[in-house]
Amino acid sequence: MTLMSAGHIVALAHQTWRELLRERLVSGALLASVVILLIAIPLGGLSLGQDGRILADLGFASLEVTSVLLVIVAGAQMLPREWERRTSFLVLSKPVSRTSFLLGKAFGLLAMGTLLVCIQAVILLALLALRGLEIGPLLGQLPLVLLQTMVAASLAVGFSAFASTPVTLLATLALYVTGHNLDSLQGLAAQLPWPSKTLLSAIGHLLPDFSLLDLKNRIIHGQRLTPELALAAVIHGVSWCVLALSTGILAFHRREA
């Protein structure tokens, strides 16, 4: 029995990519990002010599938020819409395994997220270079944003394999926000009595650590992406992608038309 086929995954990823492009979701996200950058320029002028910093901070924040939100919104709708519109019947009536179907959709979304990160990064870095900022040290944040986007996309697709669009949206956004606040969660756990303390602390360790995939607060002060940090981030990010997609695949195999 064929579990997975590279040909099917590529065909489905290509179809998903084309669907996202033609739905203007990506151009909408890009437009939002450019508007934010255009706001950052006059805002920087009010900052008493901090214009480069404000452009970088706002630019990296909008790069991350637009990319992550795009993949969460698109990913949350992806599989529920396939069921609702019965396009999944069409694909799954062909010799396509459910694993290939889910991975094809996920990879199409990941490719779109990557494109969005790259286009925004080029615009942002060009603007920063024009402002005379040294962009070399800032580059380390880009692969990390890409990893965050991939983890968010995988979580959204994974949840959408068994949950409705609103539930997927809420769950993925909650994981993204909590994953950026694990320090606060551990701080809160430390103040609680046993066994809540141990339970909350354990939960904190079982969630995706988005802060590990984030340098934007320190990069403006010259912190670089060290090989150790990069390795830890890649292992953590890829593990979560695999975990989310595997869960999605298992759930998707149980789903019936």
């Binding site: 900052s47 008493l48 901090q50 901070d57 924040a61 606060s184 988005f210 984030d214 934007k216 607060n217």
Partner: protein, 238 residues
């Protein structure tokens, strides 16, 4: 059939209320910058920042600058500064490396006649960035000009001029040394003043800065003359 005008009237009334409350708010309620400026307490800001700390620090900084600018644009007698410290603490909690918030913030607190708060802000920065020359240099000015503490200022300027500076800090080191030397001279500490002016002269000669070398030479000459005038009567006593 007579058209039902009630939805249209309701819409007009609602639009009038919305616009008039906005006009009233901007015309009257917003006249007092101190009341308008209510920075989010640092601990909540940090909790809500969700790893966008640097961005929220920027936003808190811009809000602080807007508030400070609005206050400074008012007649001196009408100025109400509000809780500026809280705003600066929020900025520097979100980004403890926000240098402009410490340096400009300490001047702004000085303008608000809160020199102790200015000193506290810089010491808070130094706790996070020990030995930061820019912060020490600024602390020297705050102690000298706002707190009238020349000895404290000398200590801060001397620390700012400590050996081992990176090339980008050489300007601060030179200025801090001049400030420390000048203050030491005024405080009748000729040993320290002499040591500092000699170092300044040597550095100026090395860099070919004739003007500064001349200033340092004249200062050393002045010190020598003062020392001579102090020691001469003692010799005649013998």
């Amino acid at each position: 059939m007579k058209p039902d005008l009630s939805p249209g009237l309701a819409l007009l009334a609602a639009a009038f209320m919305a616009v008039s409350t906005h006009v009233l708010a901007t015309g009257h309620l917003a006249e007092d910058p101190a009341r308008d400026y209510r920075p989010l307490p640092a601990r909540y800001a940090k909790l809500l920042a969700t790893d966008f700390d640097a961005l929220w620090a920027d936003m808190a900084w811009l809000a602080f600058l807007q508030h400070d600018g609005a206050v400074m644009a008012m007649e001196e007698s009408e100025r109400r500064f509000g809780d500026m410290e809280a705003g600066l603490v929020t900025v520097t909690t979100l980004d403890p490396d926000y240098l402009a918030a410490y340096t400009f913030g300490s001047w702004a607190l000085g303008d608000a006649d809160r020199p102790r708060a200015a000193q506290g802000l810089l010491e808070r920065g130094l706790a996070h960035r020990p030995g930061d020359r820019q912060l020490l240099y600024q602390l020297g000015f705050v102690r000298f000009l706002l707190l009238r503490d020349p000895d404290g200022a000398i200590r801060a300027f001397t620390a700012a001029a400590a050996p081992g500076a990176r090339p980008q800090d050489h300007g601060i080191v030179r200025n801090a040394m001049k400030m420390a030397a000048g203050l030491a001279e005024r405080r009748n500490d000729p040993d320290l003043a002499g040591r500092l002016w000699r170092a300044i002269a040597e550095d100026a000669r090395r860099r070919g800065d004739e003007r500064l070398a001349g200033v340092a030479r004249r200062a050393l000459e002045r010190l020598r003359r003062e020392r001579a005038s102090v020691t001469a009567p003692a010799r005649s006593d013998r």
